[in-house]
Amino acid sequence: MTMLSVRGLSISFGGVQALNDVSFDVEAGEIIGIIGPNGAGKTTLLNTISGLTRASAGKVSLDGAPISGLRPPRIASLGLGRTFQMSQLFPGMTVLENVMSGLHRKMRAGAFAAAFRTPSMREEEQATAEKAWEALRYVGMERFAHHPGTALSFGQQRVIEIARTLIGEPKLVLLDEPAVGLSVNRVAELDRLLRRIRDEKGVTLIMIEHVVRLVMGVCDRVLVLNYGVKIAEGKPEEVVADPQVIEAYLGSEFDAKRLAS
């Protein structure tokens, strides 16, 4: 079953062609890596899928439903989760409040119910807090529940962002460089966490990642972008051996084995 289908996606900013006729499919339950040199259009691709950037041409559909042209909150409510390269935790909230806000779209209480603290509103609030604790335990961050989110390291903040996204039970999550700046041990933990999310929660994952260890370890397939063009797609070990990919990253005189090691 196809979870995400991207067809002929193009976008240009002024004269710069940020994405050029990019097409690919993601099957439900896959973990897809997107790699490519800086400026290749990886984040633009995620932004376009999640509706933050409007494509000049092309179509995107999520789980069979067309989503191109919809606004981000609408796309989110169709089951698309997203984390960011620079942590986007809300600095004014504690970790727990941050995670609770991930359930916003599934909650019902309106302004009047909230102002009058109706019994159903209180019940919903209670249930949300419990789910948030559960999500924090799932990612192993419950001890930070009452800390301000921004007091944590960037790596921890990104894991909490993952919890905030997961609590809304998305079908597909787009992760923008979840492993930036993590130590080797933390990368291994993240590797395990991402697998658990896929295996236990049945969430399909697409991640931009530069940490080759993580990409090689966890991704079923890898997509390579260079100057907005998809230049390769396939199993991680195939892709890193592709001469075009090596050239895109390192120029032409570099040994593929060193990159893969």
Binding site: P73, M86, T150
Partner: protein, 346 residues
Amino acid sequence: MRLLLGSRPFLILMFSALAIVPVVANPYILYVCNLGMLYVILAVGLNILVGYAGQFALANAAMFGIGAYGAGLLQVKLGAPYFLAAPGGAVLAMLIGTVIVFPALRLSGIYLGLSTLAFAMFSQWVLLHWNSVTFGGGGFPAPHLDLSPLPIGPDTGIYYLSWLVTMALVAFAWSLVRSRIGRAFVAVRDGEIAAQSLGIDLLRYKALAFAISGFYAGAAGALYAPLLGYVAPEGFDLFQMIIQKSMIVVGGMGSVLGSVLGAAVMVFLLELLRAFKSTQEIVFGSILIVFVMFRPRGLVTLLQRLPGWDEPLSSFDPRRLFAPAASAPATPPLAATRELADGGRR
């Protein structure tokens, strides 16, 4: 004394104390306490918009005026009874306040501040020059509150009405910020991109914040007209805006309790300086600057350290409001980029 060990008991105690003011105090103290409560409403409403939802708007004094004029004119021009005219004024302010959401969808920070300031200037101009409706620069006498079958004088009557409304509106705000709505406001303030990605609709929550704060300002205005017995444009000018702004800055941006504290402190100061009217603007302006620079989160942070005084959604540096928000996820800083470059080989 144990009652003082928390913000909720403190508020209950404060409102209980305010309830007996008409019995024990002279008319001047009664008036100041009444005015103080109206400023509590104004500060709480403004704080929902600026402190929680992060919309740096400067039109609250105009909304206050629209509430007062609405309530006054509905009585004077259309002969409506006060208990219809007052909600009418508040709803009018809410509707006009909501319209300001349209610039707020495009602008943020200082740019939103300037455009809403222009709106406030425009409403001031309308109040001054639309003589046939607003009675122009001289204003008009608004009826005092008449509860005639009841043995309650107008001063005591408007006081208790203000007391009830203030309590209700503080309680509503208190509950609101402890709900998904409060979290959505803070999400919109702290990160529009992340908020949208979590399914939080910016238009809806900005409009809601403008509507709520417009309603609060309008309600305060509708109570102000019979309290003063007179409605004139100069009560709703730029200085009024500075008073309200300094209340939430001094008390604490993004804090309901802070709004209450700030209103109390600033009304006290305002009365203290009443004899030196020319110094008021200088003093208030200076206080605003000093707090923004040295205690940006206001007096309430002193209390929030105590057990029982902590508030939800309260870690926030309001100085960020003055800078326009970044519109797209930024590129990683140099350190992160370097880390990212060796990431694969380590």
